[in-house]
């Protein structure tokens, strides 16, 4: 069973991904959509659940991560204040991700997703 990034052997967790269309959103503060995914025993369970904000807001996204009890947030750029806030709330963050969020999720499941990773689908040949 893979030990997920920095979570020391956790194999069950709830992941929130800040998205823009099918990609990880480039900026957390300009994001209006997030997708929640549940992982159990190292694989995805159920369908990803999308949530929409009425306006882009880092505060609201953080609030959503807390209220939905996310263990991990995957996002593009995030400002220091909100990064520190999520850390303080004991929510882990993998930021600086570029590319389709499905690919990021696959890498996470393989325990290969690291901050600032660029997904193959984001690079044009």
């Amino acid at each position: 069973m893979p030990a997920f990034f920095g979570l020391e052997g956790w194999t069950d967790m709830k992941v929130m991904i800040a998205i823009f269309r099918n990609d990880v959103a480039p900026r957390f503060d300009l994001t209006v959509e997030a997708v929640f995914v549940k992982l159990e025993n190292g694989s995805m369970t159920g369908e990803p659940r999308e949530m929409l904000l009425s306006e882009p807001s880092s505060d609201e996204l953080c609030g959503l991560a807390v209220s939905e009890a996310a263990d991990l947030v995957i996002c593009g750029g995030i400002d220091e204040v909100h990064y520190e806030y999520l850390n303080w709330k004991k929510i882990r963050i993998i930021d600086g991700i570029i590319g389709p969020y499905q690919e990021a999720l696959e890498l996470l499941l393989q325990d290969r997703l690291t901050p600032n990773a660029i997904m193959p689908g984001a690079v044009s040949s």
Binding site: D23, P26, R27, D29, L30, V32, L52, S54, E55, P56, G76, G77, I78, D79, E80, Y83, D95, G96, I98, G99, N116, I118, A122, V123, S124, S125
Partner: protein
């Protein structure tokens, strides 16, 4: 694409971050400063959409590239980027078309100037440059006040959200006044006020004989707003057919009058406002998603007055002074003030202004008393006031920016529940006090608490 050694040396010599972008809007090459700013190396950024490398607030930034590629003209915009250290840096983007010797378009060059040390901009961001913002003490509105001069510094489309009466038009005009377009017209288009055929002619103008009754050629609002700002109030009311036309104009940067054949270049900054939930309208097929993204480059949310209650005394004072005809503005009796402070203002600042105008007029320049307030505020209990106010303001179903559908009859349950919660909040949970506030017996309140599951 850009592998000419001289060119690469040249961009490395520029004292700002520089990104060369190909025609597909992907990063082709960055200079060392751009690598430092974005935290990405040339190798990893190459071939990636520039939006994702730049992380600018002018999102999607690719729209700006497309405009430059289309117009083949240099443009400059102020904005910010999120840098490698998770800091938001104010910058100026200068985007120029890049052409080969044979005038083939190769892509664009983006020069990014770091403005974080420019005192002028810092003052501007802090609202200290003589800009007079919205009257407010509330943190939410202070944020809006700070955003207005920043938004005024760019030409990107702005979408303003807020309930009816929150001052969307006022803020749009402030943005225009603080922008470089302030010397040119600010044209307001009420999308819900005119029938479809007339609205099209109002927007784009018409040629002589374009339709029966069109005796003269007439310039439309886009033409009138040349070099200025065009403001669409209640953009959600724009008919679908006109949404397509508006999108085409925004994409092409040109339009033609009804019945006309000549294309006219559009040079107006677009600001749109709505009290509706456009995302929900998109889901229902009532609003075009592509137009939404085109307008939604910069967003402003104006909070309702009930969320900035600390501003009510300030606004009362402002309206009393501005509406008084004599030298001395009348004072408000404590009882009258208490009614206003306890009221929820579903019609927001506009409703407050109307109430003050009513009261000041009736007071004949003397102290404004309880009996000078409009009847719907002083008659009946809070529940009736709420209902009366909703009925008077709406009279029909409407969808709010929060996505909630409200109507005076159909959603009474929700209104009543909200009202009970508000009374309990004000009474700090004391039910007998809340019942008194609502004008109900305690037993009625208990029954309703049970009914609403509170």
């Amino acid at each position: 694409m850009f592998h000419n050694a001289n060119l690469l040396n040249l961009i490395d010599g520029i004292p700002h971050a520089v990104i060369l972008v190909d025609k597909n809007l992907n990063v082709s090459r960055m200079n060392r400063r751009a690598e430092a700013l974005t935290g990405r190396s040339n190798d990893e950024a190459s071939g990636v959409q520039t939006d994702y490398i730049l992380r600018s607030n002018l999102h999607p930034f690719s729209d700006y590239f497309r405009a430059v590629l289309q117009e083949k003209k240099m443009v400059a915009h102020e904005g910010n980027i999120l840098d490698r250290n998770r800091k938001i840096i104010p910058v100026r983007f200068t985007i120029s078309p890049l052409e080969s010797h044979s005038a083939d378009l190769l892509g664009v060059m983006v020069v990014i100037e770091d403005l974080s040390f420019v005192p002028y901009l810092q003052e501007k961001a802090a609202g200290l440059d003589g800009f007079e913002g919205v009257i407010s003490l509330s943190p939410k509105m202070q944020e809006v006040n700070e955003q207005i001069p920043i938004f005024a510094g760019t030409d990107a489309s702005v979408l303003i959200y807020g309930e009816t009466g929150t001052g969307k038009g006022f803020v749009a005009e402030k943005i225009h006044q603080a922008s470089k377009r302030s010397g040119y017209p600010f044209i307001k288009v009420n999308c819900g006020a005119l029938p479809e055929q007339m609205l099209e002619s109002e927007l784009f103008g018409h040629a002589q004989g374009a339709f029966p009754g069109a005796d003269h050629k007439r310039p439309g609002m886009f033409r009138l707003a040349d070099r200025g700002t065009i403001f669409f109030t209640e953009i959600g009311d724009l008919p679908l057919s006109l949404q397509v036309k508006l999108l085409t104009v925004l994409d092409d940067g040109e339009f033609s009058a009804l019945g006309g054949t000549k294309k006219v270049a559009m040079n107006a900054r677009i600001i749109a406002a709505t009290s509706m939930d456009l995302k929900a309208m998109i889901a229902e097929g009532q609003f075009r998603e592509d137009l939404f993204y085109r307008l939604n480059v910069l967003r402003l949310h104006l909070p309702p007055l009930r969320e900035r209650a600390e501003d009510i005394p300030l606004l009362i004072d402002h309206f009393v002074k501005s509406l008084s005809t004599g030298n001395l503005a009348p004072h408000f009796e404590r009882k009258a003030l208490r009614v206003l402070k306890d009221y929820s203002f579903p019609g927001n600042v506009r409703e407050l202004r109307n109430i003050i105008e009513h009261a000041v007029t009736l007071s004949l320049g003397e102290t404004v008393k309880y009996e000078h307030l409009p009847e719907y505020l002083t008659q009946g209990n809070e529940a009736e006031r709420y209902a009366s106010s909703w009925g008077a303001n709406k009279g029909q179903e409407r969808r709010t920016a929060d996505g909630e559908t409200k109507g005076s009859a159909t959603k009474w349950n929700d209104v009543e529940k909200e009202m009970i919660i508000e009374a309990l909040r004000k009474s700090r949970g004391k039910r007998s006090e809340a019942a008194k506030m609502l004008g109900w017996a305690r037993s009625t309140l208990y029954r309703k608490l049970k009914h609403h599951g509170i």
